[in-house]
Amino acid sequence: MLHQLFTFKGGVKPPTNKTQSVTLPIAAAPLPSRLIVPLHQSIGGTPRPVVQAGDKVRKGQLIGEADGWISAAVHAPTSGTVRAVAMQPQPHPSGLDALSVVIEPDGRDEWIDRQPFDYANATPDDTRRYLQQSGVVGLGGAVFPTHGKLTASRSVAMDELIINGAECEPYITCDDLLMRERAADIVRGIGIFRDLLQPKRVLIGIEDNKPEAAAAIRAAVAELGENFEVVSVPTRYPAGGAKQLIRVLTGKEVPAAKRSTDLGVQCFNVATAYTAWRAIAYGEPVVSRIVTVTGNVHAPRNYEALIGTPMNELLALAQPHPDTDGTVMGGPMMGFLVPTPDVPVVKATNCLIAHADRLFPPKAPEMPCIRCGACADACPHELQPFELYWHARAKNFGKTQQYHIFDCIECGCCSFVCPSRIPLVQYFRFAKSEIWAREREKNAADEAKTRFEFKQFREEREKAEKAEKLAKAAAAQAAKKAAEAAAAAAADSSPAAPVEAAVDPTQAAKKAAIEAAMARAKAQREAAQPKNTDTLNPQQAEELAAIEARRQAAGLTDAAAGAAAVDTTREAKTEE
């Protein structure tokens, strides 16, 4: 079937280097010596550990419980003993440690009791929750919890469900092999997504350098009687970026500020569909994934590796050449060198590349930008990278936002083409993280300010309330005394004074209250230390006035609250 294709601007055509790792079928990697399973393997909340050191676990047993809706469960990749729940180095460029469950395999690889999910009788919400509990996340690299993407927009009709089999990054072939070998399960998994999202059509995009994979998926679609369209898209990096693939297949452009469902389209990776089906049909949570092991190795190949496998153990299977000096996780365009060789394979690990200068020559020194515009021509988001660079370099972050820095997907096309060898993406990451840091700081400062102001307000209020209470108590006391005195006086007085006596109690009570207030005010005056506002220089006075004005504007003044006490003293003064 002919499908009308659209194009995205920009993009580059680096040498693909994919043929090396597709000659052999996927192999199961042997059980490693230990497994380090990080709890935080998806976007969103960090799952809470539900096992502790010494626990026996079986393959597929829950070890980390999803924390919130955008979070996904984590499971034991094999049977064995939990050795520790501790901070471990992570496959992340920062080199920071994170909480992980360390498991020593017992070699039996015993599954839990696997029960297929009764999909036919489940509500869509049940299915989403089940996928969350099975740890199904986007395996294309972004690891967004899949169930969170399986709800259509309320206001926009779901037009297209896009399945991403483009795999545009050089060297990576894990999706290619998965499509070739396990097409039927992928297509069945897509069926689940289709049922939940109810799109008008389902489009499976595969770069045209993978004809075998496309043929396998086509055959599976036909065999299962589905109406999914398998579309070959031109090979051009980054055609496999979700936004680029959506553009190529539908002509829709999803801006950074919007969700794709707002435009009636959603996108999943083929491997994600596969794991969703394994979870539903076989009761197998995500405990392994296909990883391409390639680069400077003797025997490049795709392995099905357990999550948590130390990378060096997996890399060793492909026999790295002796001049290997590092491990890249991901592709050569967006991947990163892992901080230590034994960090674990995680759900985001689609590829390990043995790094050597022979394959990836060290970069020539950075030259000044000559504004040649090659980066702008290559940018798939049609940004002006050289302008972004200019402002990021000058730490003029406001300007970088004006030039849409947050629309940058860090695909690396600009760095790839730059004749001046400027690591543009690094500058953009720097600018983004600086902007985030500043926003965090600003938010923290705002919060602290609000907290402080509320504390002040509360203290003033409490003081006023206390004063009021005291005044009332004193007044009551005085009134009582006055009444007693009046009664005594009435008893003593001649019969000529009944009128006076009738008037007196109220007046006496008032007088007594005034006297009490005066006495209190005097006591306060005497007790009061010299205030720190008594000796102000004009500048301080001005500042104080300004603060008072702000406080008044903010409704924080104590004038109202303290009115009673003030009034009493004033009354007393006028009486004098």
């Binding site: 995205f8 601007k9 580059v12 680096p14 040498p15 460029p93 050089p170 936004k243 553009r247 452009e253 999803v254 801006p255 950074a256 919007k258 000096d325 590092g326 890249v328 991901g330 050569p332 365009m333 967006m334 991947g335 990163f336 060198l337 901080p339 394959l359 990836f360 060290p362 970069k363 020539a364 030259m367 000044p368 930008c369 000559i370 504004r371 040649c372 515009g373 090659a374 702008a376 021509d377 798939p380 988001h381 049609e382 940004l383 002006q384 302008e387 030039y403 849409h404 629309d407 690396g412 760095s415 790839f416 083409v417 730059c418 004749p419 001046s420 060898r421 690591p423 993406v425 690094q426």
Partner: protein, 339 residues
């Protein structure tokens, strides 16, 4: 530990490769030019290149920058070649050297060096010298001058008197002067009939030089080193204004073809207004920049007092480039519908 960031794969590209290709693209024009006015052009290329590299080295040293990396980037040589090709071929060596040193020291390094100059250095050199040394900058070899290489070198080095042979002018300048002297009595068609000067279209031999630059420029475009926007707009503006005035009064205004193939039009279109550092960078900005430069160049060339207007036009547009860029930012992916 290595911390080299992605991407690990890089396209085989460098600044020196860009500059080398620009130099290569100049060769057809240079060949035609040398055939037209003699090997003096090549001498000037050498003088300008040496002066540029020397000035570059001194400035890099003073600024504490790595010498080898920047001397080999080729940018100084491109500037030097553009100067040598715009100055009169038999200009004294010190004039070319002065212009080149001025371009490198003042127009380039004092503004921050490679990539930082707001003005096109070669055009700064041309403008400076034509204002400071108007007579020398207007001395072109007489038409059909045949002079042995050694004599040409003697003249350039000032070892021989500057002879009457240098009383010529470019066809463009000759046309303007003739029209001015004729004071309305002489018409363009009559002048163009003199094939000794004007050849078939725009100057004997000069047509081939222009064609050489055109070929080189098209090659740069085909190699994607330049985009079509600025050259197209520059040429279109030239054709539009010269065509309109020619239709209005053909006796006093030369036809568009004459303007396209004479003076610095073709060199300007493909090698000057395409300078990325001092020009515009957005597609629409490049169109505005090219069109503006074309219009101004025509106006200065036809109504102004200088033999050609490309240099002044480009400098004026250089001034406006940042604002044009700011106002012509393209819509980005996903934001095309927003107004």
């Amino acid at each position: 530990m290595m911390t080299a960031p992605a991407p690990f794969l890089l396209k085989d590209a460098s600044v020196s490769r860009v500059m080398t290709q620009v130099c290569l693209a100049l060769i057809p024009g240079i060949a035609a030019y040398a055939w037209l006015v003699g090997p003096a052009v090549l001498i000037q290329l050498v003088i300008a290149s040496l002066a540029a590299l020397l000035a570059e080295a001194v400035m890099l040293r003073l600024r504490g920058k790595p010498l080898a990396m920047f001397l080999s980037d080729g940018s100084a040589v491109v500037t030097a070649w553009l100067i040598a090709l715009t100055f009169p071929p038999l200009a004294p060596w010190w004039l070319v050297a002065t212009g080149t040193v001025f371009a490198i020291v003042i127009a380039k390094h004092l503004y921050g060096g490679l990539g930082q100059n707001p003005f096109n250095p070669a055009m700064v050199a041309f403008a400076t010298c034509i204002v400071s040394f108007p007579a020398l900058m207007a001395q072109w070899p007489s038409v059909g001058l045949q002079m042995p290489l050694l004599d040409q070198i003697d003249i350039i080095l000032g070892l021989a008197p500057r002879v009457d042979a240098l009383s010529g002018a470019t066809p463009l300048d000759a046309m303007k002067t003739a029209l001015k002297l004729g004071d309305g009595e002489i018409d363009v068609a009559h002048l163009l009939a003199n094939q000794d000067i004007y050849g078939n279209f725009a100057g004997r031999g000069w047509e081939f030089v222009a064609a050489g630059y055109l070929i080189g420029g098209l090659w740069l475009w085909q190699r994607r080193l330049i985009s079509w926007h600025a050259p197209f707009a520059f040429i279109a503006a030239f054709v539009a204004i010269s065509g309109a005035l020619w239709l209005y009064h053909p006796a006093t205004f030369a036809n568009p073809l004459f303007h396209l193939l004479s003076g610095g039009t073709m060199l300007g279109a493909f090698f000057i207004v395409t300078d990325p550092v001092s020009g515009c960078t957005t597609p629409r900005g490049k169109l505005i920049f090219g069109a503006g430069a074309g219009l101004l160049a025509y106006i200065v060339r036809v109504f102004g007092g200088y033999p050609d207007g490309v240099a002044f036009a480009v400098l004026l547009m250089n001034l406006s480039a940042p604002v044009i860029d700011l106002l012509t930012q393209p819509r980005i992916f996903g934001m095309k519908d927003e107004s």
